[in-house]
């Protein structure tokens, strides 16, 4: 095949430098190219000139280095002795005329930006917390004192200082837990510390309770005997159900543990409450970073399992309620519902209320949906409807609805603190999106995985737990962590409904006469905190992906 090779190999690769080719490549190749390069040269030139007036030394150094680089490339080309540096420069920064000019331009922009930040944040800045009033501020420097001065507001909002130690304790608890988790999950120790890891996991399960006691507190009260007995009955019923479905095996140890657990935990809870050490804190006093973290972590912890349940519900194929059952029940319910219509009609004041008194037709519409759209699968129907409803409403609307409508549901005289409402609203919102992400993961699992599990005799819940979910969740880690990061950052939306989270607290800080107008300093600080949090989460997710990705090798 020699002819082919001759055809495809260009002949004119000499060792000498070809000026003609060089100019054609860089300048005179086309009309557009010439104009672009000339324009770039003019812009860069004038920018360099402007910067030279402003920062003579820095600009001179940058330009000198740039020229040096070009010269070193020319020299190495002429003598055919490229050094590592000149080769790197040629490949990355000074590839062509246009690129060389752009390099100079961009480097100068960066240098002056860094210089500006440096001047503002350090050289001209005032770090004294006592000197934040306008008369102390320099025109083009930061007044960092506000961060220290307003630290209480920034971190915990209007929480009374006497409770601060509880926040510190909570923080210490979480940090220590993290530290231990980190140590015990080292590959070298993983097997040896099996028991310690189990204990630690138990503590993690308890940690929401611990944090609740620390941050919200327990009120004193009489020992609730009825509640205790109900709790035992409920737990026993769950145990019996799981056992009859063969999800858990029967053993005396586990049943005694189940029955005793509730009274034991309740008694501990009651004692802590009556010790008076952890009196209730009004959640409406939470603010700043504390509130942001409480909202974000509650949403993350609650939305994930809820989203999983929703995703499984939407895909479920069980409970095909037959039409002969749906319609009689629906018609009966509708007829019963219509018995209220005459009364409603009599008391209605306008057309809308008149129409609304025929509400039972909605029951028929729902029955039609369940029958036709979902083939009688009520579980999938409920799951799908919930997800689609939530996803078609903006988050803000949900938050407003939660706060405005809660009083109608909570009954006379009971007012639920806003943070709880916001957490519920946000959790519903987040779980709908989480559910869709998880559903995507479930759909990516090949049919063969389900068939192999069936053929091996796994029941439905085992199949999900051991085979399908571990694979599906691994696929959706990036999407789920995206949701987590979203929950962390978008929790700042709660300032719209009147909460003073980390971002919202800004308003009250800058309205203090001593810190009037010091927005930029606060925003920079917040950006750093938000960035750190999000960055930690996403790098943890990447680590997790690698760890769980073992099977894909």
């Amino acid at each position: 095949m020699t002819t082919n090779e001759e055809l495809t190999t260009p002949k004119a690769i000499g060792r000498g430098f070809n000026w003609q080719l060089f100019l054609q490549d860089n300048l005179t190749g086309s009309w557009m190219q010439t104009v672009t390069v000339l324009l770039l040269a003019i812009i860069t030139g004038s920018y360099v000139y402007g910067k030279y007036e402003e920062l003579p030394i820095v600009t001179a150094v940058v330009v000198a280095l740039w020229i040096l680089g070009i010269v070193s490339i020319i020299v190495s080309e002429i003598f055919h002795k490229p050094t590592a540096v000149s080769r790197w420069l040629k490949q990355n920064l000074l590839t062509s005329f246009a690129n060389s000019l752009l390099t100079l331009f961009v480097v100068l922009v960066l240098v002056s930006a860094v210089n500006g930040i440096w001047q503002w944040s350090y050289v001209n800045a005032n770090f004294n917390p006592a000197e934040t009033a306008p008369e102390f501020r320099s025109a083009n420097g930061a007044t960092w004192g506000v961060l220290w001065g307003a630290r209480k507001l920034l971190m915990t909002g209007w929480l009374e200082p006497i409770h601060s130690w509880r926040v510190w304790l909570g923080l210490g608890f979480i940090l220590i837990m993290w530290l231990f988790t980190y140590i015990t999950s080292r590959p070298a120790l993983k097997e040896k510390l099996r028991v310690a890891r189990m204990v630690l996991n138990g503590f993690w399960l308890l940690s929401p309770v611990v944090l609740y006691i620390l941050l919200a507190g327990i009120s004193e009260g009489a020992y609730n005997v009825t509640g205790t007995i109900t709790g035992v009955a409920v737990l026993g019923a769950i145990y019996a159900l799981l056992w009859s479905q063969k999800v858990i095996p029967f053993s005396w140890g586990s049943i005694i543990g189940t029955v005793v657990a509730w009274p034991l935990l309740y008694t501990i809870w009651w004692f802590i409450g009556n010790s008076g050490q952890f009196p209730p804190i009004d959640p409406d006093k939470w603010g700043g970073l504390l509130l942001t973290l409480i909202i974000a972590s509650s949403v993350i912890v609650l939305a994930f399992p809820l989203g999983m349940i929703l995703a499984l519900a939407r895909r479920s194929e069980v409970f095909g309620v037959p039409a002969w059952l749906i319609w009689p029940v629906a018609v009966a319910a509708t007829l019963w519902g219509f018995t209220t219509t005459p009364e409603l009609l009599a008391t209605s004041r306008n057309l809308v209320e008149q129409i609304m008194s025929f509400w039972p037709v909605i029951i028929l519409a729902i029955a039609y949906m369940i029958h036709r759209v979902f083939n009688g699968n009520i579980v999938a129907g409920v799951g799908t409807t919930f997800i689609e409803l939530i996803r078609s409403v903006p988050l803000i609307t949900l938050l407003f609805m939660g706060i405005v409508m809660a009083p109608f549901f909570s009954g006379e005289g009971v007012s639920i603190p806003k943070p709880w409402l916001v957490i519920v609203g946000y959790t519903l919102f987040s779980s709908a999106y989480m559910a869709e992400a998880i559903r995507g993961g479930l759909q990516a699992i090949p049919k063969g995985q389900y068939e192999a599990s069936d053929a091996l005799g796994f029941n439905g819940s085992q199949k999900m737990r051991f085979i399908i979910l571990p694979q599906a969740l691994r696929i959706v880690i990036p999407a789920i962590v995206g949701q987590f990061i979203g929950a962390f950052k978008s929790s700042s939306l709660v300032s719209i409904v009147g909460l003073f989270d980390f971002l919202g607290i800004n308003r009250s800080i800058v309205s203090n006469p001593a810190w009037l107008g010091l927005r930029l300093e606060l925003y920079v600080f917040m950006a750093i905190i938000y960035f750190t949090g999000s960055f930690l989460m996403s790098s943890y997710s990447r680590k997790l992906e690698v760890q769980l990705g073992l099977g894909d090798r």
Partner: protein, 255 residues
């Protein structure tokens, strides 16, 4: 290398399929299939693509639901009762064309997951038996690798070990060698031969003629959702009864 076989069955006919019909929507994939198999028999099913071979053996462990007729496996009738289905699936093992190993688990975990959670054995017992079967299929050294790190032939042998560790009495093979490169087919067929000789009841969909001639007790030829011919291997290949069979044999033997 002789190993113990499956546990004893106390029925005369371990598989009874009577007039089995199966529809996919409007399309009738099985049109009245009858088959009776004695314990320890080895049956090979042949037939053109789309004739319903896979559908039939997938009905035998309820991966597909039949709509008419009866299927009785080891004395248990397959019905809507979920407990019957679970019980049958414990006795019937299936090996798929695409292996269907669980990619997120190691070979050993793949094999022991069902014995521990379905048969409720202890981990030690399950692992012991798993290693025994891995040794028998010839790859004990791969126990701690992930499926993605094995060759196709090795993966299929892991899939067999996974099925066999559950101690089934009946084995269903759906073209276990057709996703494999030629040089790997032999290692899988060797295992299948070994199993056939140690007393398992086997129904295999496979076009491997050597295997069929050597170990099959009967060959069943299906076409368009029906059993067209049932014969001994010798007669099936040398003087088939039906015209349709001859046509089919001509086609596959030309290659």
């Amino acid at each position: 290398m002789e190993f113990e076989g499956p546990s004893q069955s106390f029925v005369d006919e371990i598989i009874i399929a009577e007039n089995v019909h199966k529809w996919f929507g409007e399309f009738e994939a099985l049109r009245g299939v009858d088959l009776r198999v004695k314990p320890g028999e080895v049956i090979v099913i042949l037939g053109p693509s789309g004739s319903g071979k896979s559908t039939f053996i997938r009905c035998l462990n309820r991966l597909e639901e039949h709509q008419e007729g009866r299927i009785i496996m080891d004395g248990i009738e397959l019905s809507h009762d979920i407990r019957n289905i679970q019980e049958v699936r414990r006795e019937v093992g299936m090996v798929f064309q695409q292996f269907n190993l669980f990619p997120h688990l190691t070979v050993l975990e793949n094999i022991t997951l069902a014995p521990i959670n379905v048969r409720k054995w202890t981990r030690d017992h399950a692992e012991e038996l798993a290693m025994k079967w891995l040794t028998r299929v010839g790859i004990p050294e791969q126990a701690h690798k992930y499926p993605g790190q094995l060759s196709g032939g090795q993966q299929q042998r892991v899939a067999m070990a996974r099925t066999l560790t559950m101690q089934p009495k009946i084995l269903l093979f759906d073209e276990p060698t057709s996703a494999l490169d030629p040089e790997m087919i032999k290692e899988v067929l060797d295992v299948m031969r070994d199993l056939a000789r140690s007393g398992y009841t086997i129904i295999a969909v496979t076009h491997e003629m050597g295997f069929a001639r050597e170990v099959a007790d009967r060959i069943i030829f299906m076409d368009a959702g029906k059993i067209v011919e049932e014969n001994t291997p010798e007669n099936f290949y040398n003087n088939p009864k039906e015209e349709r069979t001859k046509l089919f044999l001509n086609q596959i033997l030309q290659h």
